[in-house]
Amino acid sequence: MTEITYSEVTADVLRTLVRPKPAYFLLLLGFVTALGTGVFSLAVQVDVGIGLSGISHPIGWGFYITNFVFWIGIGHAGTLISAIFFITRAPWRTPIYRAAEGMTVFAVMTAGLFPILHMGRPWYGYWLIPYPNSRMLWVNFKSPLLWDVFAVSTYLTISVTFFIVGLIPDLASMRDSTKGPRKLLYTILAVGWTNSYQQWIHYARAYILLAALATPLVFSVHSIVSWDFAMSNVPGWHSTIFAPYFVAGAIFSGLAMVLTITIPMRVIFGLEKYITDHVLQSVARVILFTSIIVGYAYTTEFFMSWYSGIPAERGQFYFRAFGDPALLPFSEGSTLGFPQIAFWIMVFCNIFAPLPLWRYKIRTNLVALFIISILINIGMWFERFNIIVNSLQRDYNPQVWGSYTPTIIETGITLGSFGFFFTLFALFVRSIPALSIAQLKENLDPPRKNPTQQD
C-alpha cells in the first residue's frame, strides 16, 4: 500500500460518508422494513403470550435462543480481528477491523435482545440482574443463564469501549472536516483529540491494553454461552467439548459474516485499494481452519454418543441424522423431517461448502467468497438450531417427545433481528468511517517533505 498517500486515505474513507448511492437507501429501506416486522411481531407476542411462538413442551427453546447464540457467535469474529489480530500484528486486519468491530457491537446488541424477548414475562427481565432490593431477592449464581447475563453484558461493555476508543482519532478527523450539528456531535465524541505526540503515546498504550482485555472474551463469552447447554443434562447438550466447539463455530460464523459485509462494502464504495484480495483470502484461510475444527467437533459428538452407551444419547444423535427408528405400531420410522434437513444443511454448509477455499483462485474470487460466506451463515444458524431444538425434541423420556414448528411470529422476530443488525450497520457505515483512517495510515509510509531522502 505504499503508493497510497495519507490524504488519499482520508479522502477515500470520508467519501463513504457523504454521497450514498440510491442502492444504499434501497437496502436501508429493506432493513428497516424487516426491523419493523420484528417489532410488530414482538409487540403482539408480548401482549398475547409467548405461546404465539412455536415453542412448546418439551421444546422450551426454539428460534429465539438459536438466534441468540447465532448473533453472539457473529460478534466473536469482530473481536478476534480487532483484538487478537491486533496483538499478533496481522497487518491484513487493518482495513476490515472497524467494520468487524462495528459488526461485533451490533451483533451483541441483537443477541442481547433474545434472552429477554424469549421469556414468558419479559417485563421482568431485569430480575436477572443482581441488584439490592426491598424484597431481599437475589439471583441464582449456579444458573448458566445468569452467567450469560454477565458474559454478554461484559462483552457488550468491552466491545463498545474498544470500539469507541478506536474511533477517537477518526472522530477528530471528522470533526475537522464537517460543519453544523454533526460537528458538535463529533467534537463531543472526539474528546479533545489534538493528534499530539503525547496523546498518541497514551492512546497506543490504552488501545493495546484494551485489546488485551478483549482477547480472553473471544474465548470466554462463547464458552459461557455453550455452558447454557453443556451444564444441563439434556442428551445432545451435556457434552464437555461444547466450549471449544462453540468458540470455533463462533469465529467460523463471524468471519463468514465479515465477508458477507465487507465484500458489498468493497464493491459499493469502491474500496479495492484497501480491502484487497489478500485481506479477503486471509479471512478465508481462517474460515477454512475453523471449518475443520467444527467438522471435527461434529464427528466427535457422534462418536461420543455411541461410546457413552447411553440409549438417550445414542437415540438423540441417530434422530438428528436419520430421524426416528421404527416405532411400531405407529410408524415405520426413519423419516427425513425438518430436524434432519436442518442437520444435513448444517453438515453441507459447514463442512463441505468451505472446502473450495483450499484453492487460492476461489479465495480471491469475490462471487465465490460471497456465496460461501452466505452458505456458512446459513449453516451456522442451522448448527445452533440443530443443537438446541433437535436435542429438545428427543430427550430422555420418549413419552414426552415432541416436535417444533416455528410460527409466523417467531419468524417475524427472527427477520426483525436481521433487520435490526443491518439497519444499525447501514447507519454506521454512513456516519462513522467504516475503515479506520488512523490505522490505515499507520500501515503507510509516512509522508516525506523531501523525496530525495527516500532510500
Binding site: W61, S143, L327
Partner: protein
C-alpha cells in the same frame, strides 16, 4: 370473558353460604340447614378459609360411590371419595373426580325457557311452571304422558312412579345406554334370580374376563379396581399373585391390564365359554349331583375346545392352556359383559358364562347372589324403542325428559328425531343443554345432582344419601320438586301434603331407620345419616341359588352380525362412559390412557388389517355401515382383532356445550336398531362395516411422543419368576432412616446438610403393579390444582397443563405385546435439574424436600423444563380462562397462574400446610397419613403412597426401601432415570409380569 369470580357472584355465594342457611330448591322454599361431613368445632359451618365437607353420593354413573365434597366459602370445589362408604372406600374414578364439572358445567341452563317455532325465550320460573302445568292439563288421555329419565335410583324412582301413577300415566322409562339387563335376565333364567350378583374379584386367584370393561365403566369400576389390585398385585412378603386372562376381540384399559389376552373372533365367546365349561365339568363333575352333571354333560357334548378354536380363531394350544389354568385355579371367577359382548345374543353369552361359573364352583363363592345391587335400573332398550314407536304413531302427547337424551343415545333406526316431531309437547327437566333438550318446548332446568336431595342403594346394607352441598349455582329447582310443584298445582291427591322432595325423602328414610333398627329420634338419625353420607351396615349375606336346568334349552347360536367388512366394536369410554362425560373439558383433555388420544374419537384397527387396506396410523378413514357413514382417524392397535374395528362411545355430541360439540363422532350412528333378544338391551355388537382410506391424515392428537420406551427404562418390570425367587424382606423392619444411593459428588448431600429434611422430607411411592392406568389421579389433580384446559389445538403442540400424566409404553408386537403404564409427576428431586438452572430462584429446594415453584418470581425462561429429565413441568403459554361458572370451582388455596410462568406438581403443598396447621395447633408433628395429595387420595387401587421419607416408620419410607440398611434388600424399588443423578423423591415399584413379550 372475565377471569376468576366476579365480585357480585362472590357476594352472592358468600351471602348464601355465610348465613349458614341455604335456599335449597328455588327461591320460594324455606332455607334449609346443611349437615357437614364432620362437624367443625362450635358448629360453625362457615368461616372464611375453612373448608367444610359434605357427604353425598356420586351421580356420574349408577355405581353409587360415596362422596365427600369439599366446599370453601360456600362453593363446592373438590369431590373426594367417602372413606366410610363400603363401595368405594374413599376412592373415586376419573368421572367421579370430574363431577365438579357436572356441577359447574358451562352448558347448564340458567333459567326456565320456552321455545316457540325455534325461538327460545327466557321466562320466570313461575311462568315456566305454569306452562308445564298447562301442558299436563291439556293432555286428554293420561296414557299419552311419558316420562323418560336417565336415573331413577332410590326414592327418586318411587316418586317418579307415584307422580306418574297419580296422573294415570304408565311408569317411567329409564334410559341408560349401558344397561345391564342381560345379566339380570340371564341370572333369572339360570338361577331364578333377576339381579346383578356380587363378583368377588378380590377373592379369585384366576380371573377370566369375557370382554367386560370392569376397570372402566362396567358395574362398579372403583370397587372393581380396588378388588382387582387386591387380587392381581403382589403383596409385600408374599409370593405369587392372581392371574387375569382377558378374552375378547378388543383390549381396552381392562384388557391391557391382563396377563394374557386371548384374541377371539368377535361374537364367538359363547362357544369358548361352553367349551371351557365342558372341560371344567370333566374335572369337577363329582361336586355336582349325578343327574345335573349328566344333563350338563350332554348339553356340553358338542362344545369341544377344537370347535371353540375353530369358532374363535384362537390357537388350540392356547385354549387348552386356558382350560388347564382355569381348572387348576384355587378360586376362579369368570366375568362377562360390556359393549364388546352386547350382541343380540348377549343374554345367551351371560348364560354360557353362568354355566361356566357354576361348573367351576364359583357360584356362592366368587359370585354371590343376594347382594341387592341397585346399580342398574335401566329400562331395556327394546322398551324405550317401543316408546318411540308409540310416538311415531302419535300416541304420545306429552313427553317429559328428565336428564335422558334419546336423540343422542339411540340409533338412527329408532327415528327419534321424527318421533319427537310428533309429540304434542316436550318438557325437558335436564340441567344442561343437550340434543334432546334443544327439541323441547318447555325447559325447566333441574339443579345438578350435587345441589339436590336423593339417595341410592348400591348394595345390601348401603343406604347412601345425596344432599345439596352448596347453594344452587343458578336459582332453579330439582326436577323432583318441579314435579311436586306441578302435582300441587294439579291438586293430585296421591301427592298431597308433600311440600318438597326432601320431605318425601325423609318419609321414606323413616322406613330405613326402622330397618336399621335404630331407636333414636328420627331427626338425630337423619342428621347422623347426612353427616356420614348415609347408613352403612356390614351385612353378611349368602344366598344359595340352584341351577335351573331349563336354561339348557336356550339358543346358544352365534350373534347376528349384519353388513360386510370388519366387525364394529363400540367400546364404552373410560372417560366419557357412553357420552355423559363428554361435556367435561377435563375428561376431554385427559388422554385415554391406552390410546393417549385427547379431544377426539378414533378407530382401533389391527396393523395387519391396516396394512391390507393400505391405511397408516393417523390416516383419515371412512367407515360405512348400512346405517351410516363416518370419517375418523385410524389408530393402529395390536389389541384389536384383525377382523374388527373398535371405536369408543361417547363423542360426537352436537348440542351439549362447548367442550363436547363437534368433538369426534357418535358411533351409535353406525349401528342398527337391534336389541338383545332375551333381555332387550341394546345390541352394540351387531354390524360389520366397510373401511376405506379417506383423504390424507386426520387431526388426531396423541400425548405419547413414542409408543416405545427404547431401552430408557422409564417403566420397569420384573417377571413373577424373578420376583418369587428373590427373598422378600418385610420392609416393616427397615433399619435406620437414610437417603438414597448417591453418585460420587463434590457436594454435601442434602440430608447431611443442616436445615434440610428435618423433620420432614416429603416423598411418594408408586406401585406400578397396582396401577391400572385408570387416570383418576389426573382428574383429581385438575380439580385440586386449578389446572386450566387448553383444547385440542394447543394440546397438539404439547401445551397441555396436566401436572400428572399416565405414561404408556408398548412392549412386543402383534398379539404378543404388553402395555405398561405408570403415573409420572414432578419427582421432587434432591438434586433437581430445574433448581440449579433457574436464574432467579423461582424454583428451589425447600427444607422439606419439596421442589418449590414460586410463580411470582418466575420470569419464564423455561430452562427448568428443558433441564428436567422427566419433563413434568408445564408452562403457561397464554393467560388461560375458566369459562363461567367453572371459575367457581377454583380452589382458593391454590394460585391461579398467569401467563408466562412455569408450574408443576407441588405434592399438593396446600394440603401439607393444612396438616401442619392442625398439627401445630395440637402441638405435635404431622403424623403419617395426615397429608394426602389429591392423586393419592383418589387412587382406587392405592398404587400411590405419600408421606415423610425422613421418618423410617412411615408407610412411604417402608415402601421406598431407602437407606443403606434397606437398600440392599430392594426388590421392586427403582427410581426413574436414575442415571441422571437427580435423586428423585418418588420411588417406583416394578410391575411384576407373568410373561415378557419378545422385543422386536
Amino acid at each position: 370473558m372475565e377471569r376468576g369470580m366476579r365480585r357480585r357472584d362472590f357476594f352472592k355465594v358468600l351471602a348464601a353460604g355465610g348465613a349458614t342457611a341455604t335456599a335449597i330448591a328455588g327461591c320460594s322454599d324455606p332455607p334449609e340447614k346443611l349437615i357437614p361431613f364432620l362437624l367443625p368445632p362450635d358448629n360453625i359451618e362457615f368461616s372464611p378459609g375453612i373448608p367444610v365437607d359434605y357427604a353425598t353420593t356420586c351421580s356420574e354413573c349408577p355405581a353409587g360411590c360415596g362422596m365427600v365434597i369439599r366446599t370453601r366459602e360456600g362453593r363446592a370445589i373438590k369431590a373426594e371419595g367417602n372413606p366410610d362408604h363400603p363401595v368405594n372406600r374413599g376412592a373415586l374414578c376419573i368421572r367421579g373426580q370430574a363431577s365438579m364439572q357436572t356441577l359447574y358445567n358451562p352448558a347448564r341452563i340458567r333459567s326456565a325457557m320456552l321455545q316457540q317455532n325455534g325461538q327460545w325465550s327466557e321466562v320466570d320460573w313461575a311462568q315456566g311452571e305454569a306452562a308445564f302445568v298447562e301442558a299436563i292439563r291439556n293432555v286428554s288421555d293420561p296414557a299419552g304422558i311419558v316420562l323418560l329419565t336417565d336415573r331413577a335410583e332410590g326414592t327418586r324412582g318411587h316418586l317418579l312412579d307415584q307422580w306418574l301413577a297419580a296422573l294415570g300415566a304408565s311408569p317411567k322409562l329409564v334410559l341408560d345406554p349401558l344397561g345391564q339387563n342381560a345379566i339380570k335376565t340371564a341370572n333369572e333364567k339360570t338361577f331364578g334370580r333377576k339381579e346383578i350378583p356380587q363378583y368377588h374379584i378380590d377373592q379369585a386367584t384366576f380371573l377370566l374376563n369375557f370382554g367386560s370393561d370392569f376397570l372402566e365403566t362396567w358395574l362398579s369400576p372403583v370397587k372393581q379396581n380396588r378388588q382387582f389390585a387386591e387380587m392381581h398385585a403382589v403383596k409385600d412378603g408374599e409370593t405369587g399373585k392372581g392371574t387375569f386372562v382377558h378374552v375378547g376381540p378388543h383390549r381396552s384399559l381392562t384388557g391391557v391390564n391382563a396377563d394374557r389376552w386371548v384374541s377371539v373372533n368377535p361374537g364367538s365367546e359363547i362357544e369358548l365359554a361352553l367349551a371351557l365349561a365342558k372341560s371344567e365339568l370333566q374335572r369337577r363333575r363329582r361336586e355336582l349331583s349325578l343327574s345335573e352333571a349328566s344333563r350338563l354333560e350332554s348339553f356340553f357334548e358338542p362344545y369341544t375346545l377344537e370347535r371353540a378354536a375353530q369358532a374363535t380363531g384362537a390357537d388350540l394350544d392356547s385354549l387348552k392352556k386356558l382350560a388347564q389354568d382355569l381348572g387348576r385355579a384355587e378360586r376362579s371367577l369368570v366375568l362377562v359383559g360390556g359393549t364388546t359382548t352386547a350382541s343380540n345374543q348377549a343374554t345367551a353369552l351371560q348364560i354360557a358364562v353362568n354355566l361356566l361359573n357354576y361348573v367351576a364352583g364359583n357360584i356362592g363363592g366368587t359370585v354371590q347372589f343376594g347382594a341387592n345391587q341397585e346399580i342398574d335400573l335401566s329400562t331395556p332398550y327394546a322398551e324405550v324403542a317401543a316408546l318411540f314407536e308409540r310416538m311415531h304413531a302419535g300416541e304420545v302427547t306429552l313427553l317429559i325428559v328428565d336428564g335422558a337424551n334419546p336423540l343422542y343415545y339411540l340409533p338412527a333406526g329408532v327415528g327419534v328425531a321424527e318421533a319427537l316431531d310428533k309429540v304434542g309437547t316436550i318438557v325437558s327437566l335436564s340441567s344442561a343443554w343437550d340434543e334432546t333438550t334443544h327439541r323441547a318446548n318447555i325447559v325447566l332446568p333441574s339443579l345438578s345432582a350435587y345441589e339436590r336431595w336423593g339417595d341410592s342403594f348400591p348394595q345390601r346394607g348401603v343406604f347412601a344419601l345425596k344432599q345439596p352441598v352448596m347453594a344452587p349455582v343458578f336459582p332453579l329447582k330439582a326436577s323432583e320438586d318441579t314435579l311436586l310443584a306441578a302435582a300441587e298445582a294439579l291438586e293430585l291427591t296421591d301427592l298431597a301434603g308433600v311440600p318438597n322432595f326432601q320431605e318425601y325423602l325423609k318419609t321414606s328414610w323413616q322406613e330405613i331407620q326402622r330397618d336399621a333398627g335404630s331407636k333414636e329420634p328420627f331427626d338425630t338419625f337423619w342428621r347422623r345419616s347426612l353427616q356420614n353420607g348415609g347408613v352403612f351396615r356390614q351385612v353378611a349375606f349368602s344366598s344359595v341359588v340352584r341351577l335351573n336346568l331349563e336354561v339348557l334349552g336356550e339358543d346358544m347360536a352365534a350373534p347376528e352380525l349384519g353388513g360386510e367388512g370388519l366387525v364394529l366394536i363400540p367400546t364404552a369410554s373410560l372417560r366419557h362412559r357412553s357420552g355423559e362425560g363428554a361435556v367435561s373439558s377435563w375428561l376431554q383433555e385427559i388422554p385415554d390412557p391406552v390410546s393417549q388420544v385427547v379431544w377426539d374419537s378414533w378407530a382401533d384397527i389391527n396393523p395387519k388389517t391396516a396394512a391390507k387396506l393400505g391405511i397408516r396410523h393417523g390416516d383419515q378413514i371412512r367407515i360405512s355401515s348400512p346405517h351410516g357413514e363416518v370419517l375418523t382417524a385410524a389408530y393402529l392397535h395390536y389389541g384389536v382383532h384383525p377382523d374388527a374395528i373398535a371405536i369408543p362411545l361417547g363423542q360426537g355430541r352436537t348440542q351439549s356445550g362447548q367442550a363436547s360439540e363437534g368433538v369426534g363422532l357418535n358411533v351409535v350412528g353406525l349401528l342398527p336398531a337391534r336389541a338383545d333378544a332375551a333381555s332387550g338391551d341394546f345390541a352394540y355388537l351387531s354390524t360389520r362395516v366397510s373401511v376405506a382410506k379417506g383423504e390424507g391424515k386426520a387431526f388426531l392428537v396423541q400425548l405419547d411422543g413414542s409408543p416405545r420406551q427404547l431401552d430408557r427404562e422409564i417403566i420397569q418390570t420384573m417377571t413373577l419368576e424373578q420376583y418369587d425367587q428373590e427373598e422378600k424382606p418385610l420392609p416393616a423392619h427397615g433399619g435406620e432412616h437414610g437417603g438414597q444411593p448417591r453418585p460420587i459428588t463434590f457436594y454435601r448431600p442434602r440430608d447431611e446438610t443442616p436445615g434440610y429434611y428435618e423433620p420432614y422430607r416429603w416423598g411418594m411411592t408408586v406401585d406400578v403393579d397396582r396401577c391400572t392406568g385408570c387416570s383418576a389421579c389426573v382428574a383429581a389433580c385438575y380439580a385440586e390444582n386449578n389446572i386450566p384446559v387448553v383444547g385440542k389445538e394447543r394440546t397438539a403442540l404439547g401445551r397441555e397443563m396436566s401436572w400428572i400424566r399416565i405414561e404408556r409404553f408398548l412392549e412386543g408386537e402383534g398379539d404378543d405385546y404388553q402395555t405398561l403404564m405408570q403415573p409420572m409427576m414432578c419427582q421432587h428431586c434432591e438434586n433437581a435439574g430445574c433448581e440449579a438452572v433457574c436464574p432467579v430462584y423461582a424454583t428451589y429446594h425447600t427444607p422439606e424436600g419439596l421442589n418449590a415453584q414460586v410463580y411470582n418470581r418466575c420470569v419464564g425462561t423455561r430452562y427448568c423444563s428443558n433441564n428436567c429429565a422427566y419433563k413434568v413441568r408445564r408452562f403457561n403459554w397464554f393467560e388461560y380462562e375458566f369459562e363461567s361458572p367453572l371459575h367457581m370451582q377454583l380452589n382458593p388455596d391454590v394460585t391461579v397462574r398467569s401467563k408466562g410462568v412455569m408450574e408443576k406438581c407441588t405434592f399438593c403443598v396446600q394440603r401439607i400446610h393444612r396438616a401442619r396447621w392442625d398439627a401445630d395447633a395440637k402441638g405435635r408433628e404431622i403424623r403419617d397419613g395426615e397429608v394426602t395429595p389429591a392423586c393419592v387420595q383418589t387412587c382406587p387401587t392405592q398404587a400411590l403412597t405419600f408421606g415423610n421419607l425422613s421418618d423410617p416408620g412411615s408407610q412411604v419410607s417402608r415402601n421406598a426401601m431407602r437407606g443403606e440398611a434397606r437398600e440392599e434388600h430392594r426388590l421392586r424399588q427403582y427410581e426413574v432415570l436414575k442415571d441422571t443423578a437427580s435423586l428423585p423423591a418418588v420411588t417406583y415399584l416394578r410391575k411384576v409380569t407373568r410373561h415378557q413379550p419378545q422385543e422386536a
